[in-house]
Every structure is written in structure tokens, then in C-alpha cells.
Symmetry: C2
Subunit: 105 residues, 2 copies
């Protein structure tokens, strides 16, 4: 569940969102996008949680991989549906992970 990421540096895309009342097709599309993303070159892993606010963090090898995923054709369709139907507000932040540390029982 916690993504297994390599030694930094690598990149994180933090996607924070508030949804509309419209739910038709959302869950299926979200699942499909995770499946598709995980096949992209440079994809490392993804973590997701939602209450009222949703946060999805995907991890990538480099900026080039993120750029290609942003422009992938099925993902462009999903982004468009997201804006017209599913999201009332979202913010995407692209960040370079410089350090990490972990605790495991």
C-alpha cells in the first residue's frame, strides 16, 4: 500500500481533488488510469486516499515520464471528463523527492 520507491531523487505528482456529486463512470476510470499509468515508462508506484478530499500521489523516475503520461491519449480523455463531470476543484503539484525515511514494525 505504501509505494516501494527507490533511493531519491525521483519525482512525485501530488493530485489533490474535491469531487462533484456526479459518480457515473468515475471509479472505473480511476481504476483504468492506475492500470494504464503503471504500464508507462518511468512509473514507480502510486498511493491514494479519499475522504471529502482525495489525495493521489504517483511516483515517477523523471520529469520526462510525467510529461508523457500527462499527454497519453486515454489519460487526456480522462482529464477532460474529470474537468467536465467529476471534479469541482483539483490541484496537481509536481515535486522532486530529495529525501525519504521509513519506519516499519
Amino acid at each position: 500500500m505504501i509505494a516501494n520507491t527507490p533511493e531519491p531523487p525521483y519525482y512525485a505528482v501530488i493530485f489533490s481533488s474535491l469531487r462533484t456529486e456526479e459518480i457515473e463512470g468515475y471509479a472505473e476510470m480511476a481504476d483504468l488510469m492506475v492500470q494504464l499509468a503503471s504500464k508507462q515508462e518511468g512509473f514507480i508506484g502510486v498511493e491514494s486516499a479519499r475522504n471529502e478530499l482525495g489525495i493521489t500521489v504517483s511516483y515517477w523516475k523523471d520529469l520526462e515520464s510525467i510529461k508523457k503520461w500527462k499527454q497519453q491519449s486515454d489519460h487526456l480523455i480522462a482529464q477532460n471528463k474529470g474537468r467536465t463531470e467529476w471534479y469541482k476543484h483539483y490541484k496537481t503539484r509536481i515535486a522532486k523527492v530529495e529525501r525519504d525515511y521509513e519506519f516499519k514494525k
Copy 2:
């Protein structure tokens, strides 16, 4: 709910966690830590969501602010309780936000 962050660059601390069955004191401490963090110099905002996995992203002006918050005395106590009682696994990633974009209906 979505943090109001300035123009990049700024920093994100991505805290991903899986909890134990122990819940005593957790919610109060989590609330207190958000209150305390928001009083620290360099704090910008925080976003949080949890299902099985919890993700909290706090935003900071610079690395120095993050370092000071990590070493703040009440926060050290909370970190210790987190390791002994509340978390079975967590990972903290410190990342420099280089770009962001936003959509709002």
C-alpha cells in the same frame, strides 16, 4: 481543503502511513500536531486523507522550516508515540514542488 500554496518553488512533506489497531489518543494528537505545525515558521498548509492508507501532505517554505518542525519538542513526543503505538508502517518523503496547476469550477 485543498491547501492554498504560493507560486513554486516550495516544499512538500508527504507522510504515508498504515496504522495499528491502537486508537487511544491518536485523533487528539493528530489534531494537536496540525495546530502546532500551523504555528511554525515557514508552514504553508496541510492536506490529509485516510482510508486504510493515510496520506498527509504538509507544505513548507523551505527545508530549514521542515527541519525545525521535525525537531520541535512536542512533535518529537508525538513521533515517538507514533512509532511505539499508532503506526505499523510509515514513509516520509521530502520533496521540492517545482510546478503546479489548478482547476476550479
